[in-house]
């Protein structure tokens, strides 16, 4: 009964994980996610071009927003994590932060309703860029041997302990870091989407019930969906911040001088 009601609303029923693999829209490999990523890139290009096309000493509103975001990333992320070396990475971090924040916020944007980052492929690409970047920067700055030595070998440890510690350091620095970076972003957006789905669809199912008390209770489900939508805004911005902070932290570790 309730299944028919939901089907009438055009929702896939029952909801499955497969629903996160969207169908092609316009040719192969072009899904809703692809279009959303293009949209995010377009929004960011237009926003930053427009706000800096005619920069003034006393900034206009758009310029003020752009400068605030850049200032936040430069001072609170780049300089905080990497010291003054971080300033030259600040433009990349700003773009990364804005891109992740915008794509995350698509999850609560009416009409779009899902974030590309709730598909593991997108966080994997972002984490791979960070991974290649900190490995490349570390090797270029210090040379392969010294970089590996600094990453794997702790100074001031009796030598038999190295047998115990080097495998741990290797797993931590070269495998755990990129994996957790990608999975953290993916899992947060995936879970956020599921929470909204549960409360919204659950509300409709309760509304379609025969029992008047269950129908009344659906109000709480809808209220919870609204509350969780605001919570998702917070999570979207927080996860963008965490991703960029950790990227800065890893690159800072690669740049650090040896001992």
């Amino acid at each position: 009964m309730s299944g028919q009601f939901i089907a009438a609303e055009g929702l896939p029923w029952p909801p499955k994980v497969d629903d996160f693999y969207l169908p092609d829209l316009a040719g192969p490999f072009v899904t809703k996610f692809t279009l959303m990523v293009w949209l995010a890139v377009g929004i960011l290009i237009i926003f930053f071009m427009a706000s800096y096309r005619n920069p003034k000493l006393v900034p206009s509103k758009g310029q003020w927003y752009a400068e605030s975001i850049y200032g936040l990333v430069r001072d609170n992320i780049a300089r905080e994590q990497m010291g003054k070396d971080g300033i030259r990475f600040a433009p990349y971090f700003t773009v990364l932060f804005c891109f992740i924040a915008v794509t995350n916020l698509f999850g609560v944007t009416p009409g779009l309703q899902i974030s590309p980052n709730s598909h593991i492929a997108f966080p994997i690409v972002l984490a791979a860029i960070t991974y290649v970047m900190y490995l490349y920067i570390g090797v270029r700055k210090q040379g392969l041997g010294r970089y590996l030595k600094q990453s794997l070998i702790i100074p001031g440890v009796p030598w038999p302990m190295h047998f115990l510690l080097i495998p741990i350091e290797f797993l931590q620095n070269f495998i755990n870091r990129p994996v957790t970076l990608a999975v953290r972003l993916f899992a947060n957006m995936f879970a956020g989407h599921l929470i909204l789905l549960v409360f919204t669809v659950g509300g409709f199912v309760m509304l379609a019930s025969d029992n008047i008390f269950v129908q009344v209770t659906s109000i709480f489900s809808f209220l919870m969906a609204i509350l969780m939508a605001f919570f998702e805004v917070l999570v979207a911005l927080l996860q963008a911040y965490v991703f960029v902070t950790l990227t800065a932290n890893y690159i800072g570790t690669s740049l650090a001088d040896g001992h």
Binding site: E80, Q81, I154, M161, L164, P167, I168, F170, L171
Partner: protein, 73 residues
């Protein structure tokens, strides 16, 4: 963290980085040495579970030692 990744400056606020590193080291230690212990146990024909148990404890101990060395002031 500008000049030394293994020393925390007193004004550093990035508890996310440090907390993540502590948890990561512990997990990494237990996983990698648990696996090596299991491998050694299979290879040496020890009773089931002995190798993996010893390996995991060794890994946890190593990880705690590593955290003390890497992350303490």
């Amino acid at each position: 963290m500008a000049d030394n990744p293994h020393r925390r400056s007193p004004d550093e606020h990035s508890s996310e980085g440090v907390a993540g590193a502590v948890l990561g080291y512990l997990l990494a230690g237990i996983v990698v040495w648990g696996f090596l212990g299991w491998l050694a146990g299979e290879f040496l024909g020890l009773p089931t579970g002995v190798g993996i148990a010893v390996g995991m404890m060794l890994g946890a101990a190593g990880a705690i030692y590593l955290i003390m060395k890497r992350l303490s002031a």
